[in-house]
């Protein structure tokens, strides 16, 4: 019987895939395992293999046309085999096939998307194999099943785990030394919470980090100019971090998509900015939250940040002061770190990492000057927005920091 070849789902977030190249044409003979097509989805590319010996009976999706996972892209069967009524009806849903390319658009999946998707989502896997895979956070769709009809068995999952373990294992000499010198620390309390949250963050979102440098020479001048006045008038010692926080708050109001959260397959956009600010403690890390930071002036924000940070270090932060942030800033500049990849604070869409300022010679027109550059690292959830809008957001922060007068308005 003819075998259906479907567009695979290459990741949780994959909405569609494209046949980039057909290696075979209708009527070509294939052996099981032959590469019949290359497909890609966003940044993932893979080869599609023939599921059985036979010939390509029909090709339903043309090159460079995006279709949802589960869509039948071709049939492999015996030479001259007639597609069954069921096959044909699947064809009819897409037919005439030459028109599929024209009809399919990114926004509007083809009519057969629903049934095909349903079929593809039913991964053949034994109950115990599924449980073990889930407990080890393995994506079952990436596991090759060796049971009947490709059913994933316990042995298949255990094989993947064994391969993962062997890849992760250091060379035996190092392992031996570790065994002799190892010291075990319990993962408990704050460490346990951080471990769980950070691990889940990486597992359950599509994180991407982009970097940019802001020239903060003028900002540092401004800070020097006004810090004494502010200190005297408001009893607040204003820092570079306060300016950065203000720049972030203003930028978030201009880029609503970054001030959001991905919850249950929905994107929640916020009008308010509850700003999280990571504070390192002796044994861990907490993120106090400045609520409604968008309503605060630079000085008010600076005062609030100082209070919260002090409370955090003294262990006086109540739980409600650590919840509900819509965006977080984390600063490793004091440790000499330049760029890094901050991990999202779920369910937020973005987190800004701040590095150490650096003195560099830079041309200002024809004149070489000493300038202060501030490295910025923005990690964002690629499920919510793409690289370009994230870069625009980071660019806005950079603009604010490079034109600091705007931060005072």
């Amino acid at each position: 019987m003819a075998a259906e070849v479907v567009m695979p789902k290459l990741g949780m977030a994959m909405k569609e895939g494209t046949v980039s190249t057909w290696n075979k044409k209708v009527g070509d003979s294939v052996s099981k395992g032959d590469m019949i097509a290359s497909i890609n989805s966003e940044k993932i590319e893979m080869e599609i293999e023939a599921p059985q010996d036979g010939v390509i009976l029909d090709i339903l999706v043309q090159e460079d046309v995006g279709v949802p996972p589960g869509t039948i892209i071709c049939y492999v069967g015996k030479p001259n085999e007639q597609l069954t009524e069921q096959n044909s009806s699947a064809n009819e849903l897409q037919a005439p096939k030459n028109e599929v390319a024209a009809a399919v658009s990114l926004e509007e999946p083809p009519a057969n998307a629903a049934p095909s998707k349903k079929r593809k989502e039913t991964v053949l896997i034994s109950p115990i194999a599924r449980k073990i895979a889930e407990s080890e956070n393995l994506n079952v769709e990436t596991i090759k099943g060796t049971g009947p009809k490709g059913r994933i068995t316990k042995a298949d999952v255990e094989k993947v785990l064994a391969e993962r373990a062997s890849e992760a294992s250091p060379p035996s000499v190092e392992r031996d030394n570790l065994a002799i010198n190892k010291e075990t620390l319990p993962v408990a309390g704050m460490r346990k919470v951080i471990a769980g949250r950070m691990h889940n963050s990486l597992l359950n979102s599509a994180q991407l980090t982009i970097n940019m440098k802001a020239d903060v020479t003028d900002l540092l001048s401004l800070q020097r100019e006004i810090k004494d006045v502010i200190q005297q008038r408001h009893k607040v010692k204003i820092s570079l971090t306060d300016f950065i926080a203000r720049a972030v708050v203003l930028s978030l109001q201009e880029h609503k998509q970054m001030n959001s959260a991905y919850i249950d397959n929905e994107i929640h956009l916020y009008n308010h900015v509850h700003l999280g600010m990571a504070v390192a403690l002796e044994n861990g890390l907490v993120v106090p939250v400045i609520q409604h930071a968008e309503k605060m002036s630079l000085v008010e924000l600076a005062a609030e940040l100082k209070t919260r940070a002090a409370n955090a270090r003294q262990g006086q932060l109540s739980a409600d002061r650590m919840q509900g942030s819509t965006f977080t800033i984390t600063n490793l500049g004091a440790y000499g770190v330049e760029y890094f990849t901050p991990v999202l604070n779920p369910p937020e869409t973005g987190i800004l990492g701040v590095g150490a300022t650096e003195d560099v010679p830079m041309y200002q027109g024809d004149e070489l000057q000493k300038r202060n550059l501030l490295p910025l690292s923005l990690t964002f959830d690629h499920r919510v927005l793409d690289g370009a809008p994230a870069a625009n957001f980071l660019g806005t922060i950079k603009q604010y920091l490079e034109q600091p007068i705007l931060l005072l308005l």
Partner: protein
């Protein structure tokens, strides 16, 4: 030239031949005796026929319990009739295999095969020798009963299982050396027919591969039928001239006289006489070495069934034969040894699949065990068959069902459920909501599963 030659027409061989023929191979099967091998001619089928006769007799004797009055003094076993029933069944089944050979265009040759090269066999039939060439071979030569090193079978007093099922009359006494599956089945058959049976077993319990509590239930039932059982006992001497055996039990020497001494201490693969050494096929006393595709170290020669040792059961042989034939035809398939049911046709029956409780504890440490007794099962009570229980072994982390043992009526039929659970890699939470028909013996399995999760309803 043949595409494929199969040596041996037992469960592994005939299934391999049919499978290969259906894949389009030109197949010849060589068998020195009757088609069907040990299973049909000297094993599974004839013993089950004798058991059916013995159990029918037992049931009739208990007819009064069901409100049926019979002249019990007139109810007797007609041994010739029992043998006729058995022979008739075997004959029909052997004919059935012959029909399947014809239907699948498989040429059947009678004779004893021996390799000359890795593509050529000599087939000896009486004084004639014929050479057969083939591209590929599947060796399915089976096994034969192992004998005592100090007293070989004489067919008169010291007999093997094949001889024990065709005795001229019901013996008045029978010594069974070896309390494994075969020994216990014959103990069950003959004790129900009135024979005074004695079992001498070297291990601490009957059926050493099964859980002690499961084996103990059978021991109790056999003892109720008058079977004398000596475990942790060793045979020291056999004296055929006066049909007397000496064995040691708890440092005490026992002397036993019996009509027959059935030696059931296991079966050994038939690896000699096949010319394996001529072709360089790796083998030992334990059997022919094969990989997961049942392929020997000589790539065009496969081996399957009892001749490779391992689990010597007909249903394993069926599957190994299929795997060997498919691989010879370019298909990939493995045998799932994890979910092989083990059936013991005693009264009560015993059947199990997967790990025993001890094996599970050794493998997993803490495990969960669910049990349900047939004494609380309506269908078992109605049939006056309430002896026994179901025991399920569950791995604690993911609730995987890793073993199921049943001792009781129709255990060998019920175990199919356990086989599906293990083969399907099911967990107890998947099974908790399944509906067992009521009233059935199957309910006991459901209750045992619920018990393992602390949710048993009827216990």
């Amino acid at each position: 030239m043949n595409n494929l030659v199969v040596i041996g027409g037992g469960p592994a061989g005939y299934v391999a031949a049919i499978t290969a023929a259906r894949q389009g191979k030109k197949v010849t099967l060589i068998e020195q005796k009757d088609l069907g091998g040990t299973c049909l001619n000297e094993g599974c089928m004839p013993t089950k026929s004798l058991l059916a006769s013995a159990e029918t007799y037992e049931k009739i004797k208990k007819a009064e319990q069901f409100g049926i009055t019979l002249p019990l003094e007139q109810v007797k076993i007609n041994w010739d009739g029992v043998q006729h029933h058995k022979t008739n069944i075997v004959k029909k089944l052997v004919q059935g295999i012959g029909y399947l050979m014809k239907k699948n265009s498989i040429k059947v040759m009678k004779g004893e095969a021996s390799f000359l090269t890795n593509h050529r066999l000599a087939v000896r039939n009486e004084n004639q020798v014929e050479e057969v060439e083939a591209e590929q071979f599947i060796i399915a030569a089976g096994s034969e009963p192992a004998s005592l090193p100090f007293s070989p079978f004489d067919g008169k007093w010291i007999i093997h299982s094949g001889q024990a099922m065709s005795l001229p009359a019901i013996p008045s006494s029978l010594l069974i050396v070896g309390g494994g599956v075969i020994g216990c089945e014959f103990a069950s058959i003959y004790s129900q027919m009135g024979t005074k049976v004695t079992i001498v077993e070297a291990a601490e319990q009957l059926l050493p591969g099964e859980d002690p509590d499961i084996a103990f239930t059978l021991r109790e039932e056999l003892e109720k039928k008058g079977v004398a059982i000596y475990t942790s006992s060793s045979l020291t001497e056999m004296q055929p001239e006066d049909k007397t055996a000496l064995f040691k039990h708890k440092e005490e020497l026992h002397e036993l006289q019996s009509d027959y001494a059935l030696i059931s201490i296991g079966r050994k693969p038939r690896v000699l006489g096949l010319g394996l050494e001529k072709v360089g096929i790796h083998f030992s006393k334990q059997g022919i070495d094969v990989n997961e595709h049942m392929q020997t170290n000589i790539p065009n020669i496969y081996a399957c069934g009892d001749v490779v040792g391992g689990i010597q059961l007909a249903h394993v042989a069926f599957h190994e034969g299929t795997v060997a034939a498919l691989h010879a035809c370019g298909k990939d398939k493995n045998v799932n040894y994890r979910a092989v049911p083990r059936c013991i046709y005693t009264h009560p029956e015993i059947a199990s699949v997967g790990m025993t409780e001890k094996q599970a504890r050794d493998a997993y440490g803490d495990i969960r065990v669910g049990e349900f007794s047939f004494t609380a099962n309506g269908k078992a009570m109605i049939a006056n068959e309430s002896v026994g229980k179901v025991k399920v072994i569950v791995e604690p982390q993911f609730n995987e069902i890793i073993g199921l043992s049943i001792v009781g009526s129709h255990a060998t039929e019920l175990i199919g459920q356990g086989t599906i659970m293990l083969h399907g890699e099911l967990t107890t939470d998947v099974m908790e909501d399944f509906i067992a028909a009521h009233p059935t013996l199957s309910e006991a399995i459901h209750e045992a599963l619920l018990h393992s999760a602390g949710q048993a309803v009827h216990s």
